[in-house]
């Protein structure tokens, strides 16, 4: 463990997660699929239940006391997310369903109205489809260029083609992740953010895989937009957040239209509401937002730096244990440059078969392309196995995974 203000006690934290009270196929549950979606602590679940039982009503509109409580709960959660991301202004925090919706919002409302022929959007080959497909689509729709920075043979983004892109076209958007969901790579974004701003482009950060595992600071990153998903960070599904720079958000057209996002409506004309309401049409996922607020409290109490340090430890341990397995190929950077994600393949055995046999051993991993088909194309495989860790992961779960892989070998021997 690297020196830090706080050391993480995974065993104590794990007791907060009711999901681990069960066995799977008669074995203890080794849940190594947290990058897919994390489990939820009792603190989050209880907060949501209590809110439904004592404080639920629709927000913003009701005059009655429950409406006030519900509004206070939603706006209190927004302030927690603001502090979590070190955003300058709480009105810049937009609640959305997930990071995908956040990125679509920026793609449609900003890029959709600012891109034209001769302009370009730049992404990397390491993006999740959620930070790839919307840009590809909007660029094409607007007659703009869509450019992808390729991965090198080490699986790192090759930035060397950037200036060539800038010669060809007017770069308007650069969109990359902070942590890769397929390889776990933690990106050093400072140079590309600087480069983007030098081109006069906006920088959009997909932090869905970063925010659960390390301190994310929108001001330190100097990004223009940043997207997170609640369900990957101990919060409920159906809630995420977009942070955007206030001046950009104010100048943007809305994304979804309807109730709540308006200032005034007449037959002739509708005017938009103030931030954040302009981007929150319809009834919000109120209790999900409150649950996300509780998740932020939970992560802050555990300590983001402590979580990151602990995951580095787990990754180093996993790379050692899995490295002993015959016929294994491990993908991704060294432990110190990655969040708690280990992607691998067993020679000649499809990941679906690996994952199915592991399931019988009580081990839950993800098998597939991880919504990263361009990464799989670079690796030259249709899919990988991915084990991913979180603040409740124990080393013995990684042992259980390693034992399970020997069981896989036995079946296919």
């Amino acid at each position: 463990m690297t020196a830090g203000p706080k050391k993480l006690d995974a065993r104590a934290l794990r007791a907060d997660f009711p999901i681990f009270l069960q066995e799977i196929h008669g074995k203890p549950l080794a849940y190594l699929d947290s990058a897919n979606s994390s489990q939820k602590p009792r603190q989050v679940l209880d907060t949501m239940t209590t809110f439904y039982e004592t404080s639920y009503a629709n927000v913003h509109r009701a005059v009655h006391v429950l409406g006030e409580r519900a509004t206070a709960g939603l706006e209190g959660a927004r302030e927690k997310v603001r502090a979590f991301l070190n955003a300058p202004d709480v009105r810049e925090v937009i609640f959305v369903r997930n990071a995908t919706e956040a990125l679509n919002l920026v793609a449609y409302s900003w890029a959709g109205n600012n891109l034209g022929p001769g302009d370009a959007v730049v992404v990397t080959q390491l993006e999740h489809h959620s930070n790839f497909v919307p840009w590809q689509y909007i660029a094409k729709r607007n007659g703009a260029e869509f450019r992808m920075l390729p991965l090198d043979d080490q699986g790192d983004v090759d930035y060397s083609g950037l200036d060539e892109v800038a010669q060809d076209c007017n770069v308007k958007v650069v969109a990359t992740n902070l942590v890769s969901n397929s390889l776990g790579t933690i990106a050093d974004l400072a140079p590309i953010v600087r480069w983007a701003h030098d081109q006069g482009a906006i920088f959009v950060c997909d932090a869905a895989q970063a925010a659960p595992h390390m301190r994310v600071d929108v001001q330190a990153l100097d990004c223009d937009f940043l997207a997170v998903s609640g369900h990957k960070m101990c919060g409920p599904s159906g809630i995420g957040a977009l942070w955007g720079r206030g001046d950009l958000l104010r100048a943007m057209e809305p994304f979804l239209l309807g109730g709540h996002m308006i200032s005034s409506v007449t037959y002739e004309k509708t005017t938009w509401g103030e931030l954040p309401h302009k981007f929150e049409a319809g009834t919000s996922p109120i209790v999900e937002a409150v649950g996300l607020g509780a998740a932020v409290d939970y992560l802050e109490a555990a300590g983001l730096d402590a979580i990151e340090a602990y995951e580095h430890e787990l990754v180093a341990y996993a790379l050692g244990r899995l490295g002993e397995i015959p016929g294994i190929t491990l993908y991704g950077p060294p432990a110190e440059r990655r969040a708690g994600i280990v992607s691998f393949n067993l020679d000649g055995i499809h990941p679906h078969d690996v994952a199915q046999i592991l399931d019988q051993e009580g081990v839950a991993i993800r098998a597939g392309h991880h919504c990263c088909q361009p990464v799989m194309q670079k690796l030259g495989v249709p899919a990988t196995n991915r084990a991913s860790f979180y603040l409740y992961t124990l080393p013995e779960e990684i042992d259980q995974l390693a034992e399970g892989l020997y069981a896989v070998h036995k079946v296919f021997a």
Partner: protein, 144 residues
């Protein structure tokens, strides 16, 4: 045998490791490619008809994917040999599933029928036979 042992029962592993009808046909009368993007299974099917232009004389497949998808396609090549395009176009997937003979979760069911669905698409392209009714239920599959 429990459910799990059945899933990887000997015959499945045998077809996976020693696939029947594995390869390509250079002058195929019908061919199609199928992919299951959920798990990256890929199957290409090649069909040669007999002199009547209707009876399946030879079926080959190439591809890569999980044991279930590849073994099921291997079994399929044996199953359809000597049948007509019209017969195979309406071949019930349950007949193939019975041959596979193992319980399949909904996710793995898509692996199991990839080869059959791809074959029906190949026949449709070459002979205009009907596409499988069940195709609607497998719209995650990419078929060309």
């Amino acid at each position: 045998m429990n459910e799990f042992e059945q899933m990887y029962r000997e015959v499945i592993l045998d077809h996976y490791k020693n696939p029947r009808g594995h390869g390509t046909l250079e002058h195929a009368d019908a061919e199609a490619e199928g992919q299951n993007p959920l798990c990256g299974d890929e199957v290409s099917i090649y069909v040669a008809f007999g002199e009547d232009g209707e009876t399946i004389d030879e079926v080959k497949f190439s591809g890569r994917g999980c044991a279930i998808s590849q073994a099921a396609t291997s079994m399929l090549t044996e199953m359809v040999q000597g049948r007509t395009a019209t017969e195979v176009a309406v071949l019930d997937k349950d007949e193939l599933l019975a041959e596979i003979g193992i319980p399949l979760t909904p996710v793995r069911l898509k692996c199991a029928v990839l080869g059959l669905t791809t074959l029906k698409v190949a026949l449709h392209k070459a002979k205009g036979t009907p596409l499988p009714d069940g195709l609607a239920g497998f719209d995650e599959l990419e078929l060309t």
